[in-house]
């Protein structure tokens, strides 16, 4: 869960930029990455994002943890494309009487997808590191994301940490009583843990509702008020997007 805690330096210039500007820019650049055929543009975005991420003081270990799943999936996709897709033979080998063929065009296609994955993950990781979640949620409400969805997102985010602490206490107690010593007991303990969390979630929801009603809750939550857009931020973002757009077109 320590991975969940926000690693951004809120004093960094990137963190001070309006969340709406960052979300919109990230979505536009993401669309460019996904629709680009080739290596150069996603590679450039990866490089810029990594420089900015390290510039924000994010530690390498945190970044590697973030990349572990996407890199694994990228590796599987390269292997699938190499062995199963394509027409231009790259290598051929025999293993235990079975012919294994690799295809050059499939391999290149796999590399292209892997490059896209790394680039897109770098971009969204940078967005996550530089945007406090409360601001992200407020940004979503400005983009007219339905209020009901934004509200449950707020509740979920607020209570993840509370429930995670509860889960850790239960897990430790189960572990001390050899609750995970065998697979059967482990499964039973895990079911109990998940069930207990559901009960706690229900109890928390009741007490939270009572507390909020005492403070005037009528079924809707107030959102963060946005400051007006800052002209220099919008102008700089436009220049960045135009430059990237030109590079994307080339």
């Amino acid at each position: 869960m320590h991975v969940l805690t926000e690693h951004s330096r809120i004093d960094h210039a990137l963190a001070r930029i309006d969340a709406r500007v960052k979300i919109l820019s990230a979505l536009v650049i993401l669309a460019m990455i996904l629709s680009y055929r080739g290596f150069a543009f996603p590679g450039l975005v990866t490089l810029i994002c990594l420089i900015l991420t390290f510039g924000m003081g994010v530690r390498l270990r945190v970044l590697l943890l973030r990349y572990s799943e996407p890199l694994f999936i990228a590796a599987v996709i390269i292997a699938v494309k190499l062995l199963f897709a394509g027409k231009d033979p790259m290598f051929s080998a025999q293993f235990m009487g079975i012919a294994i063929n690799g295809y050059r065009d499939g391999f290149l296609e796999g590399l292209q997808i892997a490059n896209r994955i790394v680039s897109a993950v770098s971009l969204i990781a940078l967005l996550g590191f530089s945007t406090p979640f409360a601001e992200f949620i407020a940004g979503l409400s400005w983009f007219r994301v339905p209020k009901g969805f934004v509200e449950i997102l707020m509740f979920a985010y607020r209570y993840i940490f509370v429930l995670f602490d509860d889960a850790q206490v239960i897990y430790q107690a189960q572990k001390n009583r050899l609750g995970y010593s065998t697979l059967r007991r482990g499964l039973s303990s895990f079911g109990t843990l998940a069930g207990s969390l559901t009960i706690k979630a229900f109890d928390h929801s009741q007490s939270t509702t009572v507390a909020m009603m005492q403070r005037g809750y009528d079924g809707t939550m107030p959102m963060l008020k946005h400051k007006p857009f800052r002209l220099h931020e919008v102008a700089m973002t436009m220049v960045l997007l135009i430059c990237l757009g030109v590079l994307w077109k080339i």
Partner: protein, 248 residues
């Protein structure tokens, strides 16, 4: 035979690469732009129906929205917790939408899945924003509906809570992974045919996901039985059981 061998080769590669296999969300950037948009458009009606239900139910009960939010937090935590997969010798993560489908109904559970996936995409890089639609479809929509329909069918067939919970968790998990494989095959196939690639992707993940489904079934059954023993009133409130089925 060749495909089986290749699949095993891929699985051994995957196991040598990571010691902790993550829940198979489609990663950020895998899907081309058109597929990313298409899957998002497919899930929109389900999300809209979920929001409609949320609005309707929270009118009568002010604690409903906080409850849905907290269930999303539970699904998030469950899907972050490693459980051992004996055949693969690694840990993997359950989906958790089967249980939320049973407790909250499939439409609201779709929202729960969407919230959990958004937080995972932003904080853990599991899944992504561009693959959010595809992941909501497989985990939120397919997982929730599969869990809910299986549970209701099993209960209609007079199965007890343990069996019904187990089957719901099992099919929710397997259905999630089958639909993820289909989305992945459609997204990365290029000029290749869809069905052969779908079969290969499905085959490559069977050694991990087959036992994981059984483990998720056991976990879901454990949760439902615990709720029945400790807080049967919750199961009645959430319309999982009728009041006459519970001796409160």
């Amino acid at each position: 035979m060749r495909y089986v061998f290749m699949a095993l080769l891929l699985v051994s590669c995957h196991l040598s690469l990571v010691s902790d296999a993550h829940a198979m969300h489609i990663s950020e950037g895998i899907l081309p732009f058109n597929w990313a948009v298409a899957w998002f458009l497919v899930v929109l009606p389900f999300m809209a129906f979920g929001l409609y239900q949320l609005k309707k139910l929270s009118k009568d009960d002010l604690s409903f929205k906080p409850l849905v939010g907290l269930m999303a937090a539970v699904v998030f935590i469950i899907s972050c917790m490693p459980i051992p997969v004996p055949t693969a010798g690694t840990c993997s993560h359950p989906c958790g939408t089967g249980i939320s489908g049973i407790l909250l109904g499939p439409a609201i559970s779709t929202l729960v899945g969407a919230v959990a996936l958004l937080i995972q995409a932003l904080f853990l890089s599991h899944g992504g924003l561009s693959t959010w639609g595809a992941n909501i479809l497989s985990m939120g929509v397919v997982g929730s509906f599969a869990g809910y329909i299986t549970f209701r069918t099993m209960r209609a067939l007079k199965a007890n809570l343990l069996i019904a919970g187990f089957m719901a968790g099992l099919f929710a998990d397997w259905a999630t992974y089958a639909s993820t494989a289909a989305e992945l095959a459609a997204g990365i196939r290029g000029d290749s045919d869809f069905l052969p690639l779908f079969g290969k992707i499905l085959l490559a993940f069977i050694p991990t996901q087959l036992p994981l489904g059984i483990l998720e079934g056991a976990m879901t059954a454990g949760m439902v039985v615990l709720l029945y023993k400790k807080r049967p009133d919750l199961l009645v409130k959430m319309r999982v059981l009728k009041p006459e089925e519970v001796a409160i």
